[in-house]
Amino acid sequence: MGYTQRMEGGVPLINLCIGGAAGEGIETMAGILEKALQRSGYFVFSMRDFMSRIRGGHNFAQIRFGSEPVAAHVDALDILVAYDERTYAEHQSRLKADGLLLCDPGLGLSDARLLPIPIRSLAKESGNARTVGVVCVGALLKLMSLPLANAEAALRETLAPGILEMNLTALHKGYESSAEMRRLPPPTASGRLLMTGAEAMAMGALAGGLRFYSAYPMSPATSLLTFFTAQSEPLRLMVEQAEDEIAAINMALGASYAGARAMVGTSGGGFSLMVEGLGLAGIAELPIVIADVQRPGPATGLPTRTEQSDLLFACFASQGEFPRIVIAVRDHADAFYQTARAFQLAWKYQMPVLLLSDEYLADSAATIAPPDVEKAAHSVAPLPREADPPGVYRRYALTDSGISPLRVPGKSDGLVRADSDEHAEEGTITESAQVRVQMVDKRARKLEGLKAELYEPEYTGVTRPRVLLVGFGSTSAAITEAVSILNSHGLSVGALLFGDVYPLPRKRLEAFWQQADAVYSVEQNATAQLAKLIRMETGLGCTDSLLKYSGRQLSVDEIVSGLEAFGIGREVPV
């Protein structure tokens, strides 16, 4: 693509990477830039790659933006902003031949793509060396022929008055030091919201009626705790930092019993500690939403990295047998709607609902259409009002649906009991063989109603694909884009992207499977857990699986090249 085309027709999407050491303000700079791009009316997808440390090391933010919808990252870079030599060394191979390398001349780099801007001295001239990130924002906006106003507004909204002026100066100095070298097409994404996956999940929880949140800080789930803590006073939320994850889930269950919609959030290690509580929610039929924001395990694993390796654990954790729902959130909008729905399902069916997110989705930000709160809050049909069984209130009354009347202690004429022992209808301990079987069956019956309202996986691709991909959760957007690229190469590809993953919805899966010559699972784990789950539930075996478990998320490019390496173009001539 020549210079004229880059300027006149405009490039639909630009992929930008900013890297430096921890503590250099990458997060702040990326935040201001994202906000400016969003407010200018462009689609934005922004991800972070941060090390588990506070200072030093190498961190980077990658922002993809433009006039086309974008929800996943690609590897090839149009612009690289390098604060230090390490950033250049790690990322220069991804910078396109016609890409731009923005860095301080002081780094002494020799590269044909170099655009030297004295960001360090401009920052000092602005009043503080730490404004270097804002200098870069100014320079980048000019470079992309975008106005300064939105970045100025973002600075005014985020910075304290004492440091605002120097940052505005830095922004202007950066702008003046640069030149217009790229131009985006006219904006097409006005009025959208910019949210991280964690924020979208938190907002979905509020739309779902969240009242109580308890957690022990653990990356990458801590952002949920931070968000709810900030909203505790304004929104009358109960938020408790528990002494451990065992306390967190048992608190949430106590609150749920007492009539509050309750949620816990953690990562795999914390969820491991919660597992006995999960079983308690199952047998005592205490509704709860459990968010597992996955990171690579086992044990401590890679704390600030991403993985989808808790799928089977989430589906089968706990001793004993009881119904549960596992939902993998796919993207930012989905995180909002599915979290709201998780609350409705949990309280309708009185069972635990597990939400699987991961570091990639939780920490990345994207522009989404403003969610329909009303729709989200009523996405599950209410329970048909059955007449309460006659006589004294029986918490675990045997019903056709398996769903017993749920009452709140202190708000009811009857006494409300919850019991982790096997119990009679009244909620008192029993060892009766007959009652045991009745209760196991009653709890299992709830699944029949639930199965009727599971979401089938979303399908993307050609009408009758020869090659079928299956994926779940946060890889969905990248798989979607990869399918589109593969089909544009003349292949016949489609993908089923699971959100509701357990119980496994199978109608659409079985229909597409019959038509396809080959089926590949695309997963962010080492053991093809989705493929295993599908085989277990349906007997259908995948041809092969494209797996990544380095702690870094599959990019669109990697999915395309990974599938091509399977020989799908050759195996399945179209």
Binding site: M251, D421, G427, I429
Partner: protein
């Protein structure tokens, strides 16, 4: 409903178990305090003592072993109109639930914790409890090779605002301490010494009667140092009574913006509030 009936016929306790006396006394105290069963929540973990909530007419929550306290404090957060009482054993309170014991003292949520302390694991047939007496002097079986856990000392050191000990078998004393504990504003710990008639042949009713004595009539429960010293008194002579009681802002009182007398479950977030918050992401 006004009667906290105790259904002793339904209980799984051994004949003569110290739990009976505790349950009878608690049921009577709840009635005397003019509480109503619908407004009282009895919480237990797992074990014989933890089954108490199954046998008294009140709201009941039988959760996991060691995890009664987290559930109890959260229920009180959700609905401050409930009187929340934990009845559970020494293993549940101090062994499996040790971490929650420490941290809920710190929180000072207005709940009452009756730890049925029979110094042995009864339901699993006689293993050592954190509070089992030291080994030696003819003691075999369930005894502590190390130093037994002193729940009163630990509670005082951790900052509890109400710390007491009473004994099953002395209903009058037990009732007085229970009443004061329930009325106390904040977390109240009452360690209730009770015999295990099946597995603890040493710490019997007779043993407790012989070895315990009431704190003096002029004992001042407002002094932490005194309380700490008296809590160390455990051997041939064991004091019973209220060791320490002070007022410190409760969990709820420290958050007046949230806990204003109206139960939290009656103050939902409205959808317009959610929409207003969403607008901040524009």
């Amino acid at each position: 409903m006004t009667d906290f009936a105790f259904h002793s016929d339904q209980s799984a306790w051994c004949p003569g178990c110290g739990n009976f006396d505790i349950a009878v006394t608690l049921a009577a105290v709840l009635g005397e305090l003019r509480l109503t069963p619908e407004r009282v929540l009895l919480v237990g973990g797992i074990g014989q003592a933890a089954k108490l909530n199954q046998y008294i007419d009140a709201n009941g929550y039988s959760g996991l072993h060691g995890r009664a306290l987290p559930a109890a404090v959260a229920a009180k957060m959700a609905n401050e109109a409930l009187t929340v009482i934990v009845d559970t054993g020494d293993g549940d309170s101090y062994g499996e639930g040790g971490n929650h014991f420490l941290h809920n003292i710190r929180r000072n949520v207005d709940i009452t914790h009756f730890a049925h302390d029979n110094q042995i694991y009864g339901l699993t047939k006689g293993q050592t409890s954190p509070t089992s007496d030291p080994c030696g002097q003819g003691r075999g079986g369930a005894c502590n090779l190390g130093k037994p856990f002193n729940p009163l000392l630990v509670a005082l050191a951790a900052g509890a605002t109400f710390v007491a000990r009473t004994i099953s078998g002395n209903r009058e004393h037990m009732a007085g301490v229970m009443k004061a504990a329930i009325l106390h504003n904040g977390y109240a710990l009452v360690d209730i010494l009770q015999p295990c008639v099946s597995f603890n042949k040493v710490n019997t009713f007779a043993y407790y009667k012989e070895h315990t004595y009431a704190l003096e009539a002029d004992y001042d429960a407002a002094h932490l140092e005194t309380a700490l010293l008296r809590s160390l008194e455990y051997g041939p002579k064991i004091p019973i009574g209220i060791f320490y009681q002070v007022e410190r802002p409760t969990y709820h009182q420290q958050r007046p913006g949230l806990y204003d007398g109206t139960p939290m479950i009656d103050k939902p977030v409205s959808l317009p509030e959610v929409e207003a918050l969403l607008a901040r992401f524009a």
